[in-house]
């Protein structure tokens, strides 16, 4: 944890409510996000208990499973979930814009410009917690290899028609959520703790109720008391006042309320299915409200400048998945091959570096962290001296003397970067350390192509500028070898992809 966020936590602990650690919203927030609150059955793998979902806070849909261990009931539930979620996930497929993209022509090997479709928007899904994101992945894995009656007429337990398709979408969203800065699938606890620090630890911030208690404590309560009430407060029946945000349920709820109701359902007591439904809904409802409270808090923050750039990548990712589905490609494999895995990792590393740089540029509070670490500094221009490079066509290389109160970790020849007011980037080199806090920089780019620098690209005396030691658009490492040159350490060339088999249907599945 950086010292600045530690300090923010201490301020929060001292004043009893959350303190900001960001001044702008660093993640995309859709106009109509799909809020999804899932619950799972304890001890079972991929046996959902119920879900509350929707894009309208006043009209959530609730689906439950009266006996989560019954395969047919589970499939019926997943079928309804598919019918509810797919219209949202597919809602942005058809409205596209055409963009130009460079591609290598497979025949000539030349770089050519091609036109490609890019979906104008992408559907966003919000879940309460980090384990909720994992559960979306798990649901996707449990569904995408199922076979429907149409695909395999002889299947013993065919899945409802659109269940495998939903599995592929959820897998895609779950996978995308691992990319730093992506916003297709986000957890509310992750979103809120990115923007505010509470007076408790990061571990305790995983509890959505406790986190919101610090952000908006009820009247007369401090954050700590309100959070404690959210964590431990129980009613006369021993049930938590704020049920866990899932996907796991509270053991006391399971043992005292849910298990007897399910037992009644098993015995065929009339109305028992409805009873289970209401019990599960009672656990979902408070989290549903908390999700929208979180959305409201986030909407109050202005969007950061680089968010649309990153959202564009999410739209690209969405479009790619749409294209793969339309091309009737098989579902995502159970395990990535070495080539795909290496590409994904390299891409995530690059996105992380990019995210770190962009968040700092967008937000003075994040930049403050980098300034404290000596990776950036705010400087005032003392003097500008025009100079030109040697060579046939001399280019402007002005020398700028600056003074800073910060303590950057600099040595001669270091490259520096700053953002121009137009959003373009300018590079400079450190020429000389003139004195305490005084540096002479040579601007080496971002001044246009002419002999004279473009207006506004060279600072004037008295200007304040923020220089960073890190690049603003970091490039990835060296390129990876072609798939057919995969080294033996990584399993050698992957060869032809073989189709994944469907999950076997075993007698044991009937639990």
């Amino acid at each position: 944890m950086s010292l600045l966020s530690a300090l923010a936590r201490m301020e929060a602990a001292a004043c009893g409510r959350a303190r900001p650690v960001a001044t702008v919203r660093h993640r995309h927030l859709a106009t109509n996000p799909l809020v999804l609150v899932p619950l799972t059955t304890a001890g079972e793998n991929g046996a959902p208990l119920g879900v509350m979902l929707g894009t309208d806070r006043s009209a959530p849909e609730v689906f439950t499973v009266p006996q989560p261990r019954d395969r047919d009931l589970r499939f019926a539930f997943l079928g309804r979930l598919a019918e509810a979620m797919l219209p949202h996930l597919e809602s942005c497929q058809d409205e596209v814009e055409l963009v130009e993209r460079k591609e290598t022509d497979p025949e000539t090997g030349k770089r050519v410009t091609v036109e490609a479709e890019l979906c104008a928007d992408a559907p966003q899904v919000l879940v309460p917690t980090g384990p909720g994101v994992d559960f979306v992945r798990l649901l996707g894995r449990s569904m995408r290899f199922r076979r429907t009656a149409e695909e395999d007429p002889g299947a013993e337990h065919p899945a409802p028609p659109r269940v495998p398709l939903l599995g592929r979408w959820l897998t895609h969203y779950g996978e995308r959520a691992r990319v730093p800065g992506s916003s297709l699938l986000l957890s509310m606890t992750g979103l809120l703790s990115r923007h505010w620090a509470t007076g408790q630890s990061q571990l305790e911030d995983q509890h959505l109720g406790a986190l919101l208690a610090w952000l908006a404590p009820p009247d007369g309560l401090g954050g700590a008391e309100a959070a404690l009430r959210a964590e431990l407060g129980r009613d006369a029946r021993g049930q938590l006042l704020v049920p866990p945000a899932g996907p796991a349920t509270d053991p006391a709820f399971d043992n005292e309320l849910l298990a007897p109701a399910i037992a009644r359902y098993d015995k065929g007591v009339p109305g028992a299915a409805q009873e289970v439904h209401e019990l599960v809904a009672s656990q979902l409802r408070p989290t549903w409200e908390a999700m929208w409270q979180g959305v409201d808090l986030l909407r109050a923050l202005p969007e950061a400048a680089h968010v649309p750039d990153r959202w564009r990548r999410d739209r690209q990712s969405y479009t790619h998945h749409r294209d793969r589905l339309r091309a009737a490609e098989p579902p995502q494999p159970r395990r990535d091959d070495a080539v795909t895995a290496a590409r994904k990792l390299a891409m995530r590393e690059q996105r992380q570096a990019e995210l770190d740089a962009q968040e700092a540029l967008d937000d003075p509070l994040v930049m403050a962290v980098r300034r404290l670490a000596g990776e950036a500094f705010l400087a005032e221009v003392l003097e500008v001296e025009m100079a030109y490079s040697d060579g046939k066509r001399p280019s402007p290389r002005p020398l700028v003397t600056v003074h800073t109160q910060d303590v950057p970790l600099l040595s001669d020849g270091d490259k520096l970067h700053r953002q121009l007011p137009t959003g373009a980037q300018q590079r400079a080199e450190l020429v000389e350390m003139a004195g305490p806090g005084e540096y002479v920089l040579r601007l080496v780019g971002g001044m246009g192509r002419g002999k004279e620098p473009a207006p506004g690209t060279v600072p004037e005396k008295g200007d304040l500028m923020c220089w960073t030691l890190f690049e603003h658009a970091p490039r990835g490492g060296p390129g990876l070898p072609e798939p057919e040159e995969t080294p033996w350490t990584h399993g050698g060339p992957p060869g032809e992809p073989s189709a994944e088999r469907p999950d076997p249907v075993t007698a044991e599945d009937v639990l």
């Binding site: 959350a18 001044t23 001890g43 305790e204 700590a224 404290l372």
Partner: protein, 388 residues
């Protein structure tokens, strides 16, 4: 597969029979009398040991076998741990299914992973281990291990092992042990979390490995323990068992070090005031005082492993301890340990003692940078519409 003998455990000091008897008696007093049963060192206590080996309060209460859950309840900060009966039923059903046919499935999985030939079920010895009380069961287990025939497989179902932890005997119950025909022992752990597409939750696998490592330590001196334990879990979304080998070498070394570093219980107990004990049915004030008389080292990680964590958190917060905000917070704070000290140092008040700490200059700088950035962005950052 290699199997090697583990270095022998150094004999703990101060365990002459008379001393031992005194310690056992002292620990019984701490529990509240000889009639209060000693709680076994379960998986959660072991996890707590790994998460926070430096906490004396946890060491003493776990070592003495005090029912921490009851103590936490009596203190008014009950632990929210509980097990859903769904998980319990599922776990028990899975274990029963795996062991149903006299352990045939278990041995088949073990042979598959170690490359051994599958034995004929008739040639497997499954000794009877039931006895009265933990000491009796541990004795039967010991006998069975010593007597296991060379050249035959022996499967021990729910054996009981004894291990010396910080001066007291802890009883441990592995799910199963298998003695190979070559005389070595494999530890078998049956868990109900799934192995999905060949991988399982690393946190849960880590906990299982830690548990198995403790069993390996308890088996030292009896038989050579194989370095990899067998983990048996349900496969994917089914109830079919599948297995994987857990490498124990590092876990054994780490656990051995932690156990050895544990401050001896007698030393901690000796610092307690006269007559103090932890029986949950005493006066709440007396119990609170008793618990407070042993120093704790609270960290947020305790919340998931120790029953007393909410009590300790309450104390840490009211004392303004910075560790309550996370262990990583402490990194750059020098000698400053409370929230008030840190904020005083950051405020730049030169009269405050905290301002003389080496970390104060950086803190002042951090606070100035933070204030500058916040001032530039007001009022957009207020948390919620009704905030100041």
């Amino acid at each position: 597969m290699t199997s090697s003998s583990l270095p022998k455990q150094t004999p703990p000091q101060g365990t002459a029979p008379a001393d031992r008897q005194a310690t056992v008696q002292r620990l019984a007093e701490l529990r509240g009398g000889p009639d209060v049963p000693q709680r076994p060192l379960d998986a959660r206590a072991l996890a707590a040991l790994a998460a926070n080996p430096g906490c004396r309060r946890r060491a003493l209460l776990d070592g003495a076998g005090v029912d921490k859950s009851a103590v936490a309840h009596a203190l008014g900060s009950p632990a929210p741990f509980g097990q859903s009966q769904f998980a319990l039923v599922r776990g028990n059903a899975f274990e029963a299914a795996v062991k149903a046919d006299g352990g045939e499935v278990l041995l088949a999985l073990l042979c598959e992973h170690t490359g051994a030939a599958r034995p004929d079920p008739a040639e497997v010895t499954v000794p009877q281990l039931t006895a009265d009380g933990p000491a009796g069961r541990a004795f039967r287990t010991r006998q069975a291990l010593i007597e296991a025939d060379g050249g035959r497989w022996t499967l021990l179902d729910h054996p009981l092992l004894a291990l010396e932890v910080a001066g007291s005997t802890a009883y441990l119950e592995p799910d199963a042990l298998a003695v190979h025909p070559d005389g070595t022992v494999s530890i078998i752990e049956i868990k109900s979390f799934p192995i999905l597409d060949g991988s399982a939750d690393p946190v849960k696998v880590g906990a299982a490995a830690r548990q198995a490592a403790v069993y390996a330590l308890a088996l030292e001196g009896l038989r050579t323990v194989r370095e990899s334990a067998l983990l048996v879990c349900p496969k994917d979304f089914s109830n079919l068992p599948t297995g994987g080998l857990l490498q124990l070498r590092k876990q054994i070394a780490a656990t051995r070090r932690q156990l050895r570093r544990l401050t001896r219980l007698e030393e901690i107990a000796a610092e307690l005031p006269e007559g103090v004990h932890f029986a949950p049915d005493q006066e709440p004030a007396a119990l609170t005082a008793a618990v407070e008389s042993v120093p704790a080292a609270y960290a947020p990680e305790c919340l998931s492993t120790c029953e007393l964590a909410f009590h300790c958190r309450d104390r840490a917060r009211s004392a303004g301890d910075v560790v309550a905000l996370g262990r990583s917070v402490r990194g750059e704070l020098g000698g400053l340990t409370t929230v008030d000290e840190v904020l005083a140092a950051a405020s730049g008040d030169p009269d405050n003692a905290a301002a003389k700490d080496p970390a104060a200059a950086t803190l002042r700088r951090a606070a100035a940078l933070r204030a500058e950035a916040l001032a530039a962005a007001e009022p957009a950052t207020a948390p919620g519409p009704e905030a100041r």
